[in-house]
């Protein structure tokens, strides 16, 4: 019995030494601007995609079809997200995407500052290359230029080619 306890104590001691040295090894200072988000997103239970997010496959049917010299090639389909490349003459000119902001509420919140509408939905010009709208207060539809000749007007035109009404009824 006594021997058993000794063993237990030894195990506990070893474990604590291991944990302590482990903690020292991990405490290497991370000076990256992403250190904070790295810490948060590796904590137990952290999730990047909400459990109730729509499956990416349910977005596919709302994407525009190929036509007028443009080809739509689906490129990603993950939970809460679908994306297609828009190609012309074999070159990528834009990306088209639908994402479910249920996983990232700040993405939806930014549309509160929108002063304009496109096809009846709040629209924003984002950064150098992106136009986005928020459908049914939940689904973000974006067109992102990948070629300088694909302008803001092109992006707005292509966003309107999505089946936005269909998407607004998804639930």
């Amino acid at each position: 019995m006594i021997r058993f306890n000794w063993r237990k104590a030894l195990a506990a001691l070893l474990l604590s030494v291991l944990l302590l040295s482990g903690a020292t090894a991990c405490s290497k200072v991370d000076n990256s601007p992403y250190a904070q988000v790295q810490k948060e997103s590796t904590q137990r239970g952290a999730k990047a995609v909400a459990k109730d997010a729509e499956q990416g496959s349910s977005f596919n049917k709302f994407f525009p079809s190929s036509g007028q010299g443009y080809t739509v090639v689906f490129s990603q389909e993950k939970k809460g997200f679908a994306e297609a490349k828009l190609k012309k003459d074999g070159k990528d000119v834009a990306l088209l995407s639908i994402s479910d902001t249920i996983s990232l509420p700040t993405a939806a919140k930014k549309y509160e500052s929108a002063t304009e509408k496109l096809a009846g939905y709040p629209v924003l010009e984002i950064g150098n290359t992106q136009t986005g709208i928020l459908v049914a207060d939940r689904y973000q539809v974006k067109a992102l230029s990948r070629d300088p000749e694909f302008t803001k007007e092109n992006r707005r035109a292509w966003i309107q080619k999505f089946d936005l009404i269909g998407l607004s009824k998804l639930n």
Partner: protein
């Protein structure tokens, strides 16, 4: 805790044998291959955004997505890394501490033996299947039809296309010769599940290959090879890839005399980590494309 994605991308090499070997093939990629390294650098190049706050926001979302294990990115990266290190396992143990450095070819030779053709054939096929599985882990299965999925696969460009060209060149043409497609096909046909189980490269990635038994996995490998061999043949014809031409380029890169050709394949196995290098680049690109669209 695994290494953060921004560190992995920041740590990609800008020089060394892997980069030099890949550059020797970059004529295959339209517009040539840019060895894109560095996390913020990749964000800027992929998204063409310049505002620091925007770049930070894209990077943060990419970090979150990568760290969510259910999203498959970590498994994909594991596959790319493992298939490289498993295939190089033959002589690698003795050299493990020298990997990543520029090592002289002659210094390496005494540790190496040419791989038997059968092992090399299985290697190539397993690497190919790894690509299919990693593609699905990173991108899902895009579109609603098989046609959509094949279109997505056929749309390979940049570092992804280079990875496939390197597979054809370094794991096909160089070690097996100009008729490697027929050779690999024949070896796969005659292979038993038991023999597959003994292959080092297969052992490395076995658990992520679809199929509930070695026999099922062997079938999946055979089918995958059958369905892309036409595409591989086209890539060879289109770029006039020959064993001779690739060796000529590699001889310059690796500083080696041609009469040691037998060993060149084994050398490539160990010194050139083209799957993990370009695989990391592909993963970072797709992660960032998703992140910028979601924020």
């Amino acid at each position: 805790m695994s290494k953060p994605i921004y560190e992995i991308v920041d740590d990609l090499p800008t020089s060394g044998m892997t980069v030099r070997a890949l550059k020797s093939l970059d004529f295959v990629v339209p517009g040539h291959w840019e060895n894109l390294v560095g996390f913020d650098n990749t964000i800027k190049a992929v998204t063409q955004e310049t505002d620091p706050a925007m770049i930070q926001a894209i990077g943060e979302r990419a970090v979150q997505l990568y760290n969510d294990k259910s999203q498959g990115y970590q498994k994909a990266l594991w596959l790319y890394n493992t298939v490289d290190s498993a295939s190089g396992a033959l002589g690698a143990a003795a050299l493990a501490n020298r990997l990543g450095q520029d090592i002289s070819f002659l210094g390496l030779l005494k540790h190496l033996a040419p791989k038997p053709e059968q092992a090399q054939s299985i290697d190539l096929a397993v690497k190919l299947v790894t690509e299919v599985v990693a593609f699905c882990l990173i991108n899902g299965i895009p579109g609603d039809s098989l046609g959509d999925f094949l279109a997505a696969l056929g749309d390979y460009g940049g570092e992804s296309l280079l990875r496939m060209a390197a597979l054809i060149a370094f794991d096909g043409l160089v070690p097996l010769g100009p008729d490697f497609i027929q050779k690999v096909g024949a070896y796969l046909n005659g292979l038993s599940p038991k023999e597959l189980e003994q292959n080092q490269t297969f052992k490395g990635v076995n658990e992520l290959i679809p199929g509930d038994s070695s026999e099922g996995k062997l079938n999946f490998i055979g089918q995958s090879f059958e369905s892309v061999k036409g595409w591989m043949g086209d890539l060879i014809t289109k770029n006039s890839l020959t064993q001779e031409g690739i060796v000529d380029r590699l001889v310059q890169v690796a500083d080696v005399s041609k009469d040691k050709l037998d060993y060149l394949g084994a050398f490539l196995d160990i010194a050139v980590k083209y799957y993990s290098h370009t695989g990391t680049q592909t993963l970072a690109r797709r992660l960032i494309e998703r992140a910028v669209a979601e924020i």
